[in-house]
Amino acid sequence: MTFQPQEAWDWLLASPLFGITLTLVAYKTARVVWERTGRHPSLNPVMVAIVLTGGTLLLLGVDYDDYMEGGRYIAILLGPATVALALPLYYERRLVRQAAVPILLGLVVGSAVSIVVAYTVTSGLGGDEALALSMAPKSATTPVSIALAESFDGIPALTAVFTILAGVLGAVTGPAVLSLLRVRDLRVRGLAIGASSHGIGTSRALEEHPTEGAFSGLAMGLNALATAILLPLLLLVLR
């Protein structure tokens, strides 16, 4: 028998056990901190858990790919969880049906404005063409935004990062900004958060109010579709 802590450590860092345990511990810690501070919005659990997990990886010198050996077992549940957003939508079906026209108009206009502003402001502030094209689809949920970046000369990895940052931004500040603007209607609040911050925003909206969460999930789905249709058309004008 030999004493080989280095081998054991190397094995651990490359094993799925590491990524799964780290993520769950970071998330649990983030939830406890959030509860202890009276659910303070600036300590949003998703953001805190990402910072704790990412910080640990940087500190230990672990690659993202090695972390994802375990991380992907958690990420794979995102598919069925997105399907599960049908449940809050089902409970709010009457409200959705009543407001179908305002919902569609708000989403189409909001989605178009978001794409145009993302492209023009990013290039206006000195970003190159590829950077502006990577920013343009960022308010759509990740599978769509990444696919659009691939098709339209953006950098998919950067689009993934921008999409996540837009989500975190909405989860942390979205409800506060809407309250500041005196937007009180739960349907409008949910739609605006889901349209600008997709699933990460939706996870926050669900914690605010079930109706807000349902409309946010709906907006995420419709915005994915709107962005996929509008982006190619708007780029014809913008580029």
């Binding site: 399907v83 599960a84 502030l125 769509v144 209607d185 990460i200 579709l225």
Partner: protein, 120 residues
């Protein structure tokens, strides 16, 4: 509970297959959400039914499921630093524009149509 998980997985599975077969510009799970909604509308499950408890169980942990993808940001920190101004500016301004315009248009059309507000 298992019934609900099976329903979710089957909806996603059909969604993924349809999206790929027809080359639709949508993620499979989003189409899966539409299929699941249709299933719920047809079955009208009670609150104790697996069709309700399965989705509820997953939704409780929705924030956790975004953490691994979010950690991916660390792989691109240097690029974010290089182009900090256009990235931060473009991201924050367009995010705010999307949020405010969506809210303003929806609220405006709701008001014109005379619908009552839904507040907590």
């Amino acid at each position: 509970m298992i019934t609900g998980l099976i329903a979710l997985l089957l909806c996603q599975l059909v969604g993924e297959l349809v999206v790929r077969t027809l080359d639709l510009p949508l993620p499979g799970p989003i189409l899966g959400m539409v299929l699941m909604l249709a299933l719920l509308l047809v079955r009208r499950p009670r609150s104790r039914s697996g069709l309700v408890r399965g989705p509820q169980a997953l939704l409780r942990y929705l924030p956790l499921l975004y953490v691994p993808a979010g950690v991916g940001v660390i792989a691109h920190l240097s690029r974010l630093g290089e182009d900090a101004v256009p990235i931060a500016g473009g991201l924050v301004v367009s995010w705010l524009a999307g949020l405010v315009v969506t809210a303003a248009v929806t609220a405006g059309v709701l008001r014109v149509s005379g619908a009552r507000k839904v507040v907590r």
